[in-house]
Symmetry: C2
Subunit: 217 residues, 2 copies
């Protein structure tokens, strides 16, 4: 199973590539192929230093990351979501994971969903009908993805309308560090998951904490 | 400091009264005074059985619970929020805690906020300007309030626009079992807190769990 990371050289994407590359075949996508190749090289070096044996890691364009992967993670900020998806195709029959949170920093961090109700529902609308979209990884901070020496002991709600796709995404989540996947229900529940991230950013800000995550219990 | 519980004989209110009565002077309010007196008696008996010494506990009308208390908890379902507040007065200069979550059970549990954005903002709009509204306790399940032998090891975001009121509410939260209060920021953040509860109900439903709570970490 190959996982493509669209935006694999960004804040979240780079850490994801580092965490996932010892577990899965990873295709790091970027608008600039050279950046993807650099992150790929860095990821391989990190695996070497840490004595981990990566599966295959490739750095390439966002389009190639979509075309060559079975499962695609959209590691892009909400503000670039529509413009990025408009330039990409070949999503037919694939599984797409949206960790995207539509939010803005005003006086505090606000949840600002699109008219579809959530970023995940917008993704499903923009992509072909045969694409099976799930939301996952929404609340894992970029710094935590990158802090390879720390376990990720968090709960991860996974929402989606296709049971098989959701099961595959939950299996991926459960393989990463100590993340624990929870079935969040249909994709329409994603709005409640996406609004968690601005809440956690507010909690961090008003309590002088960093990179706050959640556990269900 | 006296805490009045409007709806103190309901699902949430009754458990709250039991948990809070050994810690604070409690005024249990109800639409039916007799019911409040019965819950008061039951609460006192429970304290006796458990060898706890309650502060004063009184069962009375919702109006008396407001009039005689310094801090008022609105332990009522969202659907009865407006009609209940319309019948009550004497909220001037008091602190009001809203644990209210506007949600509906359709195919799944949905967050259905009023046009103000959250139940807490609606409460602030309906009450006098001098009333200081905070949201708190939104995600603690009724069953957990009542399970007196279990510790409540959960995180509780507290939102509000008045720093002193928020500090007092956080102090109350931190005295209850192992609850840990977090400053959630201004009252406008309450929408993100209130939408947590339908999310947790979905998590419980789709993962065959009961009374799911959260911890920030």
């Amino acid at each position: 199973m190959k996982i493509g990371i669209v935006g694999g050289t960004g804040d979240i994407g780079e850490g994801m590539a580092m965490r996932l590359s010892p577990l899965f075949d990873i295709i790091i996508g970027s608008r600039e192929k050279e950046k993807a190749e650099a992150v790929c090289k860095c990821t391989l070096e990190l695996c070497d230093v840490r004595g981990e044996k990566p599966c295959t890691v490739v750095g390439t364009s966002n389009q190639d990351a979509v075309t060559c992967a079975d499962i695609i993670i959209l590691a892009i900020p909400f503000k670039h979501l529509v413009s990025t998806l408009e330039t990409l195709d070949c999503f037919e029959d694939k599984i797409v994971i949206s960790p995207v949170n539509p939010m803005e920093k005003r006086n505090f961090f606000e949840f600002v969903p699109p008219s579809e109700g959530s970023a995940a529902l917008l993704v499903q609308k923009l992509l072909p009908k045969s694409t099976r979209v799930c939301s996952a990884f929404n609340t894992i901070a970029a710094n935590k993805w990158r802090a390879l020496d720390e376990e990720l002991a968090y709960s991860v709600p996974v929402c989606g309308d296709d049971a098989d796709a959701k099961r595959q995404v939950m299996d991926i989540v459960n393989k990463v560090s100590k993340l624990q996947a929870f079935d969040g229900g249909p994709l329409a529940v994603s709005c409640m998951v996406e609004s968690l991230t601005p809440l956690l950013l507010n909690i961090a800000r008003y309590n002088k904490m960093r990179d706050v995550g959640i556990q269900f219990r």
